[in-house]
Amino acid sequence: MRRATTLFIVTALMLPVAALSARAVSDAQIAAIVVTANQVDIDAGKLAESSASDPQVKAFGKQMVTDHTGVNKQATDLVTKLGVTPEDNATAQSLKSGGADNVKNLSGLKGADFDRAYIEHEIAYHQQVLDALDKTLIPGAQNAELKALLVKVRPAFVAHLEHAKMVQKSLK
């Protein structure tokens, strides 16, 4: 009984939070989040291209630079076409600082340690972006074209996540 009550209270508390977070982002903020999320992974990928020791990890890093650069170009083109000015916000900022911390952490690592840490972070990062896409960005996007772009690039993040898990398995 007590458990049911607790569950009810927690659910009741969470519903508005979820609804709020879905409504709370504007297209301008989504634009900033998308561009930052891609840029963060491009930066990490460039580091992996030069610092990774395992050829698979190196190739994965290169792939991230290529794919996220492509996504970013398309996102930037659309945002420009729509006349939306990306608006900085808490999510974009935390992505940016998280990315900077990651690069700083990775810069101190070498060889297999670098490879492991980079891939581990890539898995967490892609999972995090997928969560954001599903819970906040896709439901929150107002403009139909922006929403369509997010839906279109989502499978790439899934593919990257699976690819990263595959690489992680081979490292062990």
Binding site: Q63, T66, D67, T69, G70, V71, K73, Q74, V151, K152, V153, R154, P155, A156, V158, A159, H160, E162, H163, M166
Partner: protein, 252 residues
């Protein structure tokens, strides 16, 4: 007299020893790169081996668009080693010894039309280049020469064949790569038809069969690749860049 024999025999012995040493050092493996001198000497030998009369031959087919008739021929007879665009940046080209040359390079383009014609017809011994004289008509050979001439200025889209030409085939299926997926992910075409893939994603993909039967270059955004199977069967394929992307092409 005897000294001459000794000198000649000695020279031959030294040459043989050098040859043995070279083979012992590098083996007979095909995965080393020939040196610049070796390449230059080999090219010159090929040039010298073609009779002057043939070097001066000129194509009876004129017209700036003749090369288009060579696209399908090149794909079915040459692309497996030379790559769809003649640059040999495919899976086989770089692994041969000597490596398959980039046809768009200056070294190849320096050959006259007649020389290229002779090479296609008679092949080049000690390389992987076969003689096509009994396989291709003279006219088709000239179309290939025109295509080789076009390779330095090929643009994406130039390699798309849309049927109508003598050796071109109809496109049996058009697969769109979108959202990191192949649409449709199962398709069936008839033998003789080709399949076309176009990339609608903002980043590159490729089309690679599990069995190694076909492999496209990486397709840039908006890039297109056409492949005409030469055998029936079920071909599972994927994108090597995104290992989760899988699809099937059936040829009946």
């Amino acid at each position: 007299m005897r000294t001459w024999i000794i000198i000649v025999l000695g020279g031959l012995a030294v040459a043989a020893a050098v040859a043995v040493l070279v083979v012992m050092r590098t083996g007979l493996s095909a995965d080393r790169e020939p040196g610049r001198v070796e390449t230059a000497v080999a090219r010159q030998l090929v040039r010298l081996s073609i009779p002057a009369g043939q070097t001066a031959l000129q194509s009876p087919l004129s017209g700036p668009e003749t090369w288009r008739q060579g696209v399908g021929l090149f794909r079915s007879h040459c692309a497996m080693c030379h790559g769809e665009d003649g640059m040999a940046a495919n899976s086989i080209g770089p692994r041969m010894y000597p490596p398959v040359p980039d046809l768009s390079s200056e070294g190849i383009q320096r050959f006259s039309d007649g020389a290229l014609f002779a090479i296609v017809r008679h092949g080049v011994s000690w390389t992987g280049m076969p003689a096509f004289g009994r396989v291709l008509s003279e006219a088709d050979t000239w179309k290939l020469v025109a295509f080789v001439r076009k390779t330095p200025s090929l643009k994406s889209g130039d390699l798309v064949t849309t049927g109508g030409g003598t050796s071109d085939s109809t496109v049996g299926v058009r697969v769109v790569i979108d959202g990191t997926r192949f649409h449709p992910d199962e398709a069936t075409i008839n033998l003789g038809e080709s399949a076309q893939w176009s990339n609608a994603d903002p980043f590159p993909h490729n089309v690679t069969s599990e069995s190694g039967t076909f492999h496209s270059e990486d397709l840039a955004p908006d890039g297109t690749w056409v492949f005409r199977p030469t055998e029936r069967g079920t071909f599972e394929y994927h994108c090597t860049l995104h290992p989760g992307m899988k699809a099937v092409l059936r040829v009946r």
